[in-house]
């Protein structure tokens, strides 16, 4: 098992490197000159040349990539073009805001979704199963902003329970922060719970049909024990994957939700950077999002390896 996990970590690091190549290539090699993007259409050729020199743009792309990556590894994310501040100072507080929102949704959503998935699988074909499935189908097809708008309308305007805009500021208390981010959290929850639930249901159902589960029932074990001890460990791998996929979604799909609730997170930050065409900020955001995505997938695979009884006890 340990070699398998080490191999997966190595693969994850390699993927991270690939992401850095893609992000750099995407921002540097595409047509569209950074210097003219900063100075605008009316810049003189001399000013453009001077700026290119100060940005180090006349060096070969490979050298610039090396410098960029080396700075990145050391935590230097470059200077913002728009505000002339270090990108790192602007980025990390917003990153933690996004993580807070994603964690809030995940802590409530994942146990809820997996629990519902198991329950519906055990009560297959029953009223509860059908009702939950219809609800899940509905929320899966609705876009985030539709759900968000309905939530604002019902829970903030018609019945003022939660604030409609998720304003957070440094030094805010934990309870206040939870209250402010409840509506965006609920929006994310509705989208992800349905997906995780449906995948969990399918995975558990596939295992429940197997011979050893039937044996366990015939031995006279109670449903709870059959599901938790016999079925669930073997359904863990697909469930882990879909959970990771959805948490990765939480981190990127959060972009729309943050824009909707005007939440000061990394997603809205990146959208602003793209609108201002602020290259170093976009690069840094893309790297952070890409890294989060790669790392989450890696954790899911490792968890699937660790939870799989057949891989845990190799012959």
């Amino acid at each position: 098992m340990i070699p398998l996990i080490l191999k997966r970590i190595g693969l994850g690091l390699f993927t991270l490197w690939l992401v850095s190549v893609l992000v750099f290539a995407g921002t540097q090699l595409l047509p569209g000159d950074v210097a003219s993007a900063i100075l605008g259409q009316s810049a003189t050729p001399e000013a453009l040349a001077a700026l290119r020199h100060s940005l180090g743009l006349e060096q070969p792309a490979l050298v610039r990539y090396g410098q960029w990556l080396w700075g990145f590894v050391q935590g230097d994310l470059g200077q913002s073009l728009a505000s002339q501040q270090p990108v790192a100072d602007l980025l990390w507080p917003r990153f933690w805001n996004t993580m807070f929102l994603a964690a809030y949704a995940a802590v409530i959503g994942v146990p809820l979704a997996v629990g519902l998935g198991i329950l519906t699988a055990v009560r297959r074909g029953g009223v509860f199963d059908r009702a939950v499935n219809i609800l899940a189908l509905g929320t899966v097809s609705l876009p985030e902003y539709f759900l968000g708008l309905v939530l604002i309308l019902v829970l903030a305007v018609q019945n003022p329970v939660f604030p409609s805009l998720a304003d957070v500021y440094p030094g805010m208390g934990f309870a206040e922060r939870l209250d402010a981010t409840t509506l965006p959290m609920l929006t994310l929850l509705l989208v992800t719970v349905a997906q995780i639930m449906r995948m969990t249901r399918t995975a558990v159902l596939a295992v429940m049909d197997s011979a050893y589960v039937e044996t366990a029932y015939l031995k006279g074990l109670l449903t709870g024990r059959v599901v938790l001890r016999h079925a669930l460990p073997n359904a863990a791998a697909p469930v882990c994957n879909v959970v990771a996929f959805n948490i990765a979604y939480l981190i990127t799909g959060v972009v729309l939700v943050e824009a909707m609730f005007n939440y000061n997170g990394l997603g809205r930050f990146m959208v602003d950077a793209v609108a201002k065409r602020d290259l170093p900020m976009v690069q840094a955001c893309a790297m952070v999002f890409g890294a989060a995505y790669v790392i989450l997938n890696m954790i899911a695979d490792i968890a699937a390896i660790a939870l799989n009884p057949r891989l845990r006890h190799p012959r």
Partner: protein, 271 residues
């Protein structure tokens, strides 16, 4: 032909309605896209069924005009993504060897970054014009089409009839056209529906962020963004375009579910 279930009929009706809006939207619209008829967010009347938007323009007319942008752009992107992904996927499946390895690794690399992030990086470099938007989304999306086409192609390529055709000396193009495409058609049509849903939501999402279809064109994602303030006063204005987006997604999903239902049944359902 098996019986069409009522859910699929609902889906087909929704798609037909949206197609009508796509083709004839501006003809059906009672007012122009930019005509200002009254104050911001004026309520619905007999003449303006859904009321007015944040600039006092007729909501229904904007929705009908917006259908062209929202559906048209996503349809163009899905078609382009299939015309890139399908041939390459089939080619990788038929040729194998280094062609397959190079294409598959390239696709894996692109897929290890979330689509939204890749798209934002490209839009940062090139700006959000319509061609850039369509080509970017299509190319990013074609990685998914490539994967499916490759797996389908590999499955069919080892069948006896494909083997027989190869022994007869038929070329790769003939094999794709006469053996692989007809046998892969059903899952590919379902996939087209799902990819369309994805690009449609994606374009609407980008427009909602202000990075997709740019004004003065009306489009549903942008209309949600523009009218969003209305919700704070308890107005339904931003819900109409959002509901239009949701409705089409649900409609396509219902039809896709029906198309896929016949194929997944043998694997456990209804035993």
């Amino acid at each position: 032909m098996r019986r069409i279930p009522p859910t699929a009929w609902i889906g087909l009706a929704i798609i037909a309605l949206n197609l009508a809006a796509l083709l004839f939207g501006p003809l059906l619209a009672p007012y122009g896209e930019e005509d200002i008829l009254g104050g911001p967010f004026d309520p619905a009347t007999a003449l303006n069924w859904f009321g007015l938007d944040q600039n006092g323009r007729d909501m229904l007319s904007r929705l009908l005009y917006g259908a062209q942008m929202s559906i048209g752009v996503s349809l163009a992107a899905s078609l382009l993504s299939f015309s890139v992904g399908l041939p390459l996927g089939f080619l990788a499946a038929l040729r194998g060897g280094w062609v397959d390895t190079v294409l598959s690794r390239l696709v894996d690399t692109i897929m290890c970054v979330p689509v939204l992030i890749s798209a934002l990086v490209v839009l940062q470099a090139l700006g959000s014009s319509l061609p850039v938007l369509i080509v970017t989304i299509a190319l990013l999306d074609s990685t998914r089409v490539f994967r499916l086409a490759r797996i389908l192609g590999q499955g069919i390529n080892v069948m006896e009839y494909a083997e027989a055709a190869r022994l007869r000396g038929e070329g790769a193009w003939w094999l794709i056209r006469k053996e692989i495409l007809p046998n892969a058609a059903a899952p590919l049509i379902a996939e087209f529906g799902m990819r369309f849903c994805f690009t449609f939501l994606f374009v609407a999402g980008l427009s909602f962020l202000g990075l997709g279809i740019q004004p003065p064109y009306a489009d549903w994602g942008g209309m949600v963004k523009d009218n969003q303030q209305g919700i704070l006063y308890g107005l339904y204005a931003p819900l109409y375009p959002a509901a239009a987006i949701a409705l089409l997604t649900i409609g396509v999903n219902l039809v896709v579910d029906w198309l896929l239902a016949g194929r997944t049944r043998p694997q456990g359902e209804g035993r």
